[in-house]
């Protein structure tokens, strides 16, 4: 008789990611095929429409790149915090505060020249976005308040704040729950087709985070502090400062994502800018194992998936939540499949030890 035993690998399986990721994708796709059947749709047709909406056509790629921008920035932010084992689940709310900050400036100073107004908008987005993240950081440090819950609760509050602002303070004369349109000085120009100059900001932020983690002392300390407050204290690392720092950076990046979304894509503050990018960002950060370059790739892939799901909605009347389901499934399957890159199953004969 032989028995099976789980053993930890001496070193992680290098090719693990190459096997688990496509496997997880395939598995999630097949579950989603079942959902299509459940909705009485042809799976083949559904997959074709999904493909056309993700990679099949140029407009889809352009749209995906557009959506990848906010997801990338938010994800970069949460990844910095996750590095330190600080669970910032609040990118959604910090994104909202960034959008609010930018709108505030755009609506208060519509007459300022472009090159003054835009930096002002991004400065305010940075301030409000990072403040929204620093509150939970402070509560965690001072009172050990669980940051997962406090950042999440602040998401709900931030979204209601947008509702309040567009309904009361910045109400559009048309009567719809949106702010008035921004002046042209507050809008970010297009680079190519619908792609705007915000891409440049993404690239800059991506490089900055990568270089920071790789080459600076602070970046190194941050990774080391990921082992926890006690380890950091033994190593005489400034743990509290680092927590405030990563949360501030995290909030600032998500805030910029919000500012970009309204100044380059929407052109006014409206509640529908809250499209769940902050939550997708968490999925992206984890799938990309917190590496900036991988975050860019995965952010693009998941943005493409969202576009594909929207295409399904337009062409086949399948709810766009299809994309959200796939996100959740992919994350769960990758999480489960990572088992194989850390552990191995051994077969043992009886009497062997």
């Amino acid at each position: 008789m032989s028995t099976f035993r789980i053993r930890k690998r001496e070193e992680p399986w290098k090719w693990g990611a190459l096997v688990t990721f496509p496997g997880a994708l395939l598995f999630s796709l097949s579950i989603c095929a079942l959902l299509l059947l459940w909705q009485d749709k042809s799976v083949w047709q559904g997959m074709q429409v999904l493909w056309a909406g993700t990679f099949g056509e140029t407009w889809a790629l352009e749209e995906a790149l557009l959506k990848a921008v906010p997801i990338f920035l938010c994800s970069l932010g949460v990844a910095v915090a996750f590095r330190m084992q600080i669970w910032n689940i609040g990118a959604e709310g910090q994104f909202a505060l960034g959008a609010i900050g930018a709108s505030w400036m755009a609506l208060t100073f519509p007459g300022l020249p472009h090159w003054v107004l835009i930096p002002l908008m991004f400065l305010m987005a940075l301030v409000l976005g990072s403040l929204w993240a620093l509150v939970p950081a402070f509560l965690r440090l001072r009172l050990k308040v669980n940051e997962i819950i406090s950042t999440l609760m602040l998401n709900y509050i931030a979204i209601l704040l947008i509702d309040y602002l567009v309904l009361r303070v910045w109400k559009d004369p048309s009567g719809f729950p949106v702010s008035p349109e921004f002046s042209s000085a507050a809008l970010i120009g297009k680079m190519y087709g619908r792609i705007h100059w915000g891409i440049a900001l993404c690239v800059a932020c991506g490089f900055a985070v990568w270089a920071f983690m790789r080459f600076t002392r602070l970046g190194y300390e941050l990774k080391a502090s990921g082992e926890g407050a006690r380890v950091a204290r033994y190593a005489k690392l400034p743990y509290s400062f680092l927590v405030m720092f990563v949360m501030g950076v995290s909030g600032a990046l998500a805030g910029w994502a919000g500012a970009l979304e309204i100044s380059a894509v929407v052109g006014r503050l409206q509640p529908s800018v809250m499209a769940g990018y902050g939550y997708t960002a968490i999925v992206v950060a984890w799938l990309a194992q917190l590496q900036p370059l991988a975050i860019a790739v995965v952010a693009f892939l998941l943005a493409a998936l969202r576009v594909g799901a929207e295409n399904l909605q337009i062409e086949l009347q399948i709810p766009a939540a299809f994309g959200v389901i796939m996100e959740g499934l992919i994350l769960l399957t990758v999480l489960a499949a990572q088992f194989f890159s850390t552990y191995t199953i051994e077969r043992r004969r009886e009497g062997e030890e």
């Binding site: 053993r7 050990k144 609760m153 509050i157 299809f322 994309g323 959200v324 959740g328 552990y343």
Partner: protein, 307 residues
């Protein structure tokens, strides 16, 4: 505010606190076994939908309740598979579960938005309900509320007085020691996670069958997260969970009442109250229980294979 209004408000407090109580105790069971389940919000919406659909199709509220429980159980089993069997990260798995749950209910539920179902109706307990003040507050509700009065006692008894409950606690504190004592840590964790999932499922069913009697997307509205916070507030003790749940029920009821009377205050600020209170409650519990507020020793830590 007159006297009758206060009584009505307190009755509404019990009504809206009950689903939070079920969910809090569900999460507490899971955490007692050492598994942090952040999927409560997603589990709650899936089970609310399952309960609603089964009740709509069969016409039986009890079958709907069962369906809600089973849906919560199954979602929790998914979390169990990822974290206990495959040793995946508990925080991320829970978040994924919440994302998945939100997506699933939006995907499946859209055609049913606004439909009504009978569900559980008010059944005043004869005799008890005619007690002045206490009667209308506690004994003019649906059956699920009466069940929830017994639940914390049962939970306490199970945890403190039964072999299985003590074993679950041991695994939550120190799985290695529990294993050395001849217990099966993984199996006990499976029990805690799925049992907790069933309770969370009942809370979802309460929302669609007893609280609203209809389906809308986002029915759980953050209650799942509030439940996770309340477990911390309650120091993992069932009777303190009752206090927490009713505190929230009170704020929700108060907020609704105030909106109905039409104050000058913007409704958005009233809607923020439960979320703001969650943070405040966490601050207060951290303040009061510097030492006591520590959870089970092995909470969030997976059981690694030996060797």
């Amino acid at each position: 505010m007159n006297f009758e209004l206060i009584v009505a408000l307190l009755a509404a407090t019990v009504h809206s606190g009950t689903p939070v109580l079920y969910a809090t105790l569900g999460e507490m069971l899971s955490e007692k076994g050492g598994v942090l389940n952040l999927g409560v919000e997603g589990m709650m919406s899936v089970s609310a939908f399952a309960a609603f659909m089964v009740c709509l199709v069969t016409g039986s509220a009890w079958l709907g309740l069962l369906a809600g429980g089973v849906a919560g159980f199954l979602m929790a089993a998914l979390h169990g598979f990822v974290t206990i069997t495959c040793l995946g990260n508990q925080v991320v798995s829970g978040l994924a579960l919440t994302i998945l749950g939100g997506g699933l209910t939006e995907f499946m539920g859209t055609p049913y938005i606004g439909l009504n179902t009978s569900g559980f109706n008010v059944w005043a307990i004869p005799g008890l309900s005619s007690i002045p003040v206490l009667g209308p507050i506690f004994f003019k509700h649906n059956v699920l509320v009466y069940m929830s009065y017994l639940l914390p006692v049962a939970f306490w008894f199970f945890m403190r007085r039964t072999r299985l409950g003590l074993a679950v606690t041991a695994v939550g504190e120190m799985p290695a020691a529990a294993a050395a004592a001849g217990l099966n840590p993984k199996r006990l964790r499976w029990f805690a996670v799925t049992g907790g999932g069933f309770l969370v499922g009942l809370s979802g069913a309460y929302l669609s069958l007893a609280y609203t009697h209809l389906w809308t997307t986002g029915l759980s509205g953050g209650r799942g997260w509030i439940a996770v916070a309340l477990v911390i507030f309650a120091f993992w003790r069932p009777f303190r969970a009752v206090v927490g749940a009713y505190l929230f029920g009170g704020v929700m009821a108060f907020q609704l009442r105030l909106q109905a009377t039409g104050t000058a205050l913007a409704p958005q600020f009233l809607l923020m109250l439960p979320y703001a209170l969650t943070v405040i409650v966490l601050v207060l519990s951290a303040w009061k229980g510097k030492r006591r507020s520590q959870g089970p020793g092995a909470l969030g830590v997976n059981i690694e294979p030996e060797g």
